[in-house]
């Protein structure tokens, strides 16, 4: 899995929320500070899956509210199969 998962996540969140990467990187709560709602989160996950060719597994994830948590999800993603 990519070592620069954090960079990828930050970049894609910044694109989705239309704000500078620095602001995303320094946020401790994507929802509380940056207003990332479930639609934006879904869009970010779609973008990650499409860009990296992986399938994210969210079963044991709860908050999905900071970059580090999303990066952890990315690191343990499984490659997309059948395409």
């Amino acid at each position: 899995m990519p070592a620069d998962a954090v960079d990828t996540v930050v970049r894609l969140i910044a694109i989705e929320l239309e704000m500078p990467e620095d602001r995303v990187r320094s946020a401790t709560s994507l929802r509380g500070e940056l207003g990332m709602d479930s639609i934006a989160a879904a869009n970010v996950l779609f973008a990650i899956e499409e860009e990296l060719g992986v399938e994210l597994v969210l079963e044991d994830v709860e908050h999905l509210d900071d970059v580090a948590e999303i990066a952890r999800v990315v690191r343990r993603a499984r490659p997309t199969t059948g395409s």
């Binding site: 929802r31 709602d37 479930s38 639609i39 934006a40 989160a41 879904a42 869009n43 996950l45 779609f46 969210l58 994830v61 709860e62 908050h63 999905l64 509210d65």
Partner: protein
């Protein structure tokens, strides 16, 4: 069942919703025996035409939560008015639990939209975006009422399909505010169901603009349904006098 991710509170709300659903189901059955459907055949024909035009496209039928129970009354009076291939979105609000519970009793499919945990909600949103079929959703169940929210506009755009305003109006109802504004049809009511003009929601559309268009579409559809209801009631009164 609504997923019990909210723990004890969620299970308690489930129990309350099940009790209310049973009571309302019996009530609507009794109301249906005395209710009058205005323009039911026109509504059926309109839905058939929409299906012929948009059958293969992603469609969101959207309505106010206050129209949910009148919609079920309309469907009870005209069995094929809500076609079985329309899946209704069930969120964890009390209004969502009640209305989806009643729809489930009629054998119609539902799709979950959990509130928590956040990751589960995100995955549910992804499933709704990818769902290729027709979905029905009350857009103001969490308030503010009678307002189309920006998240709904963004969901509609992300699905890259059509949104169709839907109104179901009754002239005799109790209004109950219990976590949501619900209108409970009363005996002897008239009911009409109206489908508005399909609104193309393209991926990448300006969400603010689309939000306004969706709001206007639903406002106009509700106003047209109210006019049709008044006209239908007046015609029925004239015919019976």
């Amino acid at each position: 069942m609504v997923p019990s991710s909210a723990g004890g509170a969620g299970q308690g709300a489930d129990r309350v919703a099940r009790i209310v659903v049973r009571a309302l189901d019996g009530h609507l059955r009794r109301v249906a025996a005395t209710a009058y459907a205005v323009d039911a055949e026109a509504s059926r024909a309109r839905l058939r035409a929409l299906h012929e035009d948009l059958g293969g496209r992603r469609v969101l039928l959207f309505y106010w939560i206050e129209d949910a129970l009148p919609l079920m009354l309309g469907a009870r009076l005209a069995e094929d008015l809500l076609r079985s291939e329309i899946a209704f979105i069930r969120d964890e609000t009390i209004g969502g639990r009640i209305t989806s519970g009643m729809l489930e009793r009629t054998g119609r499919p539902v799709r979950d939209l959990r509130t928590t945990p956040a990751a589960a909600r995100t995955r549910d949103v992804q499933d709704l975006i990818c769902d290729p079929g027709w979905l029905g959703i009350a857009v103001d169940g969490r308030g503010p009422y009678r307002r189309v929210g920006r998240p709904f506009a963004r969901l509609a755009a992300r699905r890259d399909g059509f949104a169709i305003p839907l109104a179901a109006r009754v002239d005799r109802a109790w209004t109950v505010r219990a976590g949501a504004t619900l209108r409970i049809p009363r005996r002897g009511t008239s009911v009409t169901v109206r489908f508005g003009e399909p609104i193309l929601c393209r991926s990448g559309a300006d969400a603010t603009l689309l939000q306004l268009v969706l709001q206007q579409g639903l406002d106009e559809t509700v106003a047209a349904a109210d006019r049709a209801l008044r006209g239908g009631v007046a015609r029925a009164a004239t015919a019976s006098s």
